[in-house]
Symmetry: C2
Subunit: 583 residues, 2 copies
């Protein structure tokens, strides 16, 4: 048996099984050591191969596809620091629970830690940030080793896809020569053609008695709220709305909860809390005695502080991934159960319990805040806040809106409010990095159209390399670049009061004319001068293919002032109303 | 004692000590959690602060400064994936033995692994790739904690700088509010102003008896060679040349050994081995019975194979860093000793032992190969090989030549031969990545002028973000961009025979017009049409500040043919000569 026969049979078995598990997309970065796996993957009829030279962009692109499809995506790179460039995306995938199958080619054992070229220590390269790490056995064509390659592959895909979803890492030692024997029959597997081992993964559930007890417990409170953070579960939205209706509790809906858009009944949805939970009178009036929380921690710092300030309230945190997404140290019950199932079962057992006055107070305060916030639509200058308000009106139905971290995600929270359009809202909120955003959005756009990305200039700069995918693969994407020439969020932080080093350390103006780089990547670039041109260009670009960048220049100082003014006016009106109430 | 007083005193003590240990350069990426450390560093009068938004580029930039100065450079970033972006540079620093002090800000303990924003697991984030990891104690202003901050800082710098040099990682938990009390006296330390604890690090040496025994051992062989890989030790060049002179051994000098350039006596230097060690007759004629090897493994694969084919020869591998840079599995003695000291001591004890015929054979074959290789200077078309031959003639005295991996480093090896100019040649040869090359070279250029960077288009693309440093800090750099529109090295590998997937998986043409991005970064761009324009532009650009990019377009196919033709002609001539010899 030749080396190449063993190599080919082992890898072909692995790749055939990978496809059988349902993996469709593989993102490959060119390299030498990974040659046999890359060639065999390219030969497989059912795998879509995406080539990306920069492994950091490659890994975020894969993350984007996996986010949009909720199915494992495979990554492949050569040995050395190539694999280390995946680290940020692997960590993001781990925290935000996205299934990735990271495949790294490695030098064989005898060429490790001996100064051989392009050899680093790839064993447990990503530490505890992957759900599973396997140092693969050297390729061999024996019955056991073929069964081994198929079993590990199936197990890796199942591990990545089971709750909480996340990344897994398989490291393959490959010896030279690295060329497989290309043969059209290589994927014909000797037995169990339909997949080697089927893996069924259940969801967490509780007993009916436990559901009944929790339901009774919750129903004993009158002032309840439901808090929904980032969550991507297609059944969840309807179930939680039904539960809120039964309990008569308001739903505090983070923009990533997918509850702010859609045709559902929005009558219990509270969307302007980030503005009004900065007001002491509102916080006093709205004190809950029970909180039911789903998904990741919400974006709003005001909401997090509100939860922390209400530690006497019972707090049920429901997590289908059995994690601990609870930085407020105020949970009283941690419930490891599928969220949609939890809502359904609690709703079935519960009697209406909420106090209509309390619910109405939330709804009234929310309405008042929204009235004040709607003043943003009157702003004539280009404004970061107004941009998101405009998007609720202008985005086409069924679009995906991907939002960068730092300021854009906060403005999304403040200004992208309840609407009837079926808009999917996404962001990288595992580790909240400004890295890899362009690539993640392009990964999403490659499977979900139309796609809009809103991000700041530092975030855009950080992943300019990601734009290449749009050029090479003709991926349509609409990028709304908010350019305030530096780090806008720092103006909101205490260091803004230390002017001595502020611009150098935090403001960090880059003074870049991004039109050049958009041209390099064959994109259409528009510098937006006013709101009329904005809406015209946004509409016109729907007919344009490929990369489209609309740059909206703002200033950090006026942005700060605009936000402060709005929060102050919200706060003033709410205080007036609530003081009036108590008279 | 307020929180801010404790925070300030602790960090100021750390930063004051950092400067006392000799650290001059700190590369900071903007972020919120790292605010107190960034502000205190910016306030220190003796630290040079470099701001870089992309942490991957930041870390390679720091690596470049540390490579050029051989002194520890500090890196600072905020919590989250920012720190993960350092991973490739940390690994490169570890393998290539470059001292870095990585400082990461982290959430405090109570906000870890609980879904708090921008929080990842930073404990042992870089695994075994750092020499030392410390989870710092939370800041406090007690005498013990101030002594602790100073001690850890001194120890970190000493650990990074002691042999083998490498990266260390300190992780700082910071609680809000993150603002220190800015006070001009904050760096006044209560005691031992000149540095808290002085650390003296020795070098490895052997006893005189051991040196004498090794010396006698080596002198008992007649056919000896000295192989010098990448090594950066200012005393080494003269010592190894003196030793070669005593032993009458040839020195096989890798381009990164720093032995190919300089005013030293080059009479034992063999520089064209990569061409002639592909010839079986040469390999037969030049079989050694003893090999003394210094530094990293040489770049040349032909040389590595030659060493592996001569396993009956004694092989002494000398390593001041007590590592195991020996992938050939043919070392007979591993000697942990300072390289310059080893040469000196062995030279003192040794009697001339080499066989002049054997030495002359090396020199004659080398001369013949160089004659054939010099044909490259007659090539009229733009050619990757000729570029390096031209650089030996055209680079100004005392310049630094930084070379990208993949093809350029190999062409450097083949065509950048012995010269009297004092040119420092550098590359990232720890893990041989194509990542971070622009930034590493700019880090070098920020402390060492004039600086020339030669790299391919995929490598340039991979770190385009690095160019921003040149614009923001007016760093002068001459970039020679060899654009063969894809991965040129793969044409030399066996997969080139598999045309079906070759261009897609390995050729990977990007079709980018890089003039746009050079313009965005305020650079001067020239598309080189012929050799005359090349030499004119190279000369003219010496008078131009900032970023200068000269693009040389070549084709991968003609490059492959040119290399093959040259190797064939070298081989043919050598065979003719050696067969003539044996007649």
């Amino acid at each position: 048996m030749s080396h190449q026969e063993g190599l080919t049979a082992y890898i072909a078995a692995f790749v055939a099984e990978l496809s059988k598990t349902g993996v469709k997309d593989v993102v490959i970065s060119p390299g030498s050591r990974s040659t046999p796996m890359a060639l065999v993957m390219a030969e497989h009829p059912d795998l879509r191969i995406h080539i990306q030279v920069d492994e950091r962009s490659a890994s975020f692109f894969a993350l984007g596809i996996a986010k949009a499809t909720r199915k494992p995506v495979a990554l492949l790179c050569t040995s050395g620091t190539a694999a280390a460039n995946y680290y940020p995306a692997v960590i993001e995938a781990s925290i935000s629970r996205i299934p990735l199958i990271v495949l790294t080619a490695d030098r064989p054992h005898e060429l490790r830690d001996v100064g051989a070229p392009q050899a680093i220590d790839q064993i447990h390269l990503y530490g505890k940030n992957v759900k599973w790490f396997v140092e693969m056995a050297p390729p061999e064509k024996t019955e056991d080793m073929i069964r081994y390659a198929r079993t590990v592959c199936g197990r890796a895909a199942a591990t990545a896809a089971s709750y909480p979803q996340g990344p897994v890492h398989l490291n393959f030692p490959f010896r030279e020569p690295l060329i497989p024997i290309m043969d059209e029959n290589m994927f014909e597997l000797p037995e169990r053609v339909g997949g080697y081992v089927e893996i069924e993964t259940g969801r967490l559930s509780l007993s009916d008695q436990t559901f009944a007890a929790i339901s009774e417990d919750i129903a004993s409170y009158k002032k309840g709220i439901i808090v929904c953070g980032q969550l991507d579960n297609s059944e969840f939205a309807n179930e939680v709305i039904a539960l809120a209706d039964i309990l008569q509790f308001p739903i505090i809906a983070d923009p990533l909860s997918q509850l702010r858009s859609g045709e559902h009944d929005g009558q219990h949805i509270i969307d302007a809390y980030d503005a009004f939970l900065r007001n002491e009178d509102a916080k006093e009036a709205l004190k809950p005695d029970v909180i039911i929380r789903f998904g990741a921690m919400p974006i709003s710092k005001a909401l997090t502080i509100f939860i922390k300030e209400n530690r006497t309230a019972r707090q049920f945190v429901v997590d289908s991934g059995a994690g601990w997404r609870e930085p407020t140290m105020s949970a009283s019950e941690m419930i490891y159960c599928d969220e949609a199932l939890f809502c359904k079962k609690i709703g079935e057992a519960a009697a209406p319990s909420g106090n209509p006055d309390y619910l109405n107070k939330w709804l009234t305060v929310n309405e008042l805040a929204k009235e004040q916030l709607s003043a943003i639509s009157q702003v004539e200058d280009l404004s970061e806040g107004k941009l998101f308000q405009q998007l609720t009106e202008m985005l086409p139905e069924d679009s995906t809106l991907f939002v960068g971290n730092s300021m854009p995600i906060r403005d999304l929270d403040s200004f992208f409010l309840l609407n009837k359009k079926n808009i999917k809202v996404m962001a990288n909120r595992g580790a909240n990095g400004i890295d890899g955003i362009v690539s993640t959005a392009l990964g999403v756009a490659s499977v979900s159209q139309p796609c809009y990305l809103v991000l700041g200039d530092l975030t855009f700069y950080h992943d300019l390399n990601g734009l290449l995918a749009s050029k090479l693969y003709n991926i349509d994407i609409n990028i709304l670049l908010i350019n305030n020439n530096g780090g806008g969020i720092f103006s909101f932080l205490p260091q803004a009061k230390e002017p001595k080093h502020f611009e150098k350390l935090f403001g960090t103006p880059l003074d870049l004319d991004f039109s050049h780089v958009v041209e390099m990547y064959n994109g259409k670039y528009d510098l937006i001068k006013d709101w009329e041109q904005f809406s015209e260009t946004l509409a016109k670009n729907q007919e344009v293919d490929g990369l489209k960048v609309m740059e909206i220049r703002t200033t950090r100082d006026s942005n700060l002032k605009e936000h402060r003014d709005l929060w102050n006016s919200v706060s003033r009106e709410i205080t007036t109303m609530l003081k009036g109430d108590t008279k």
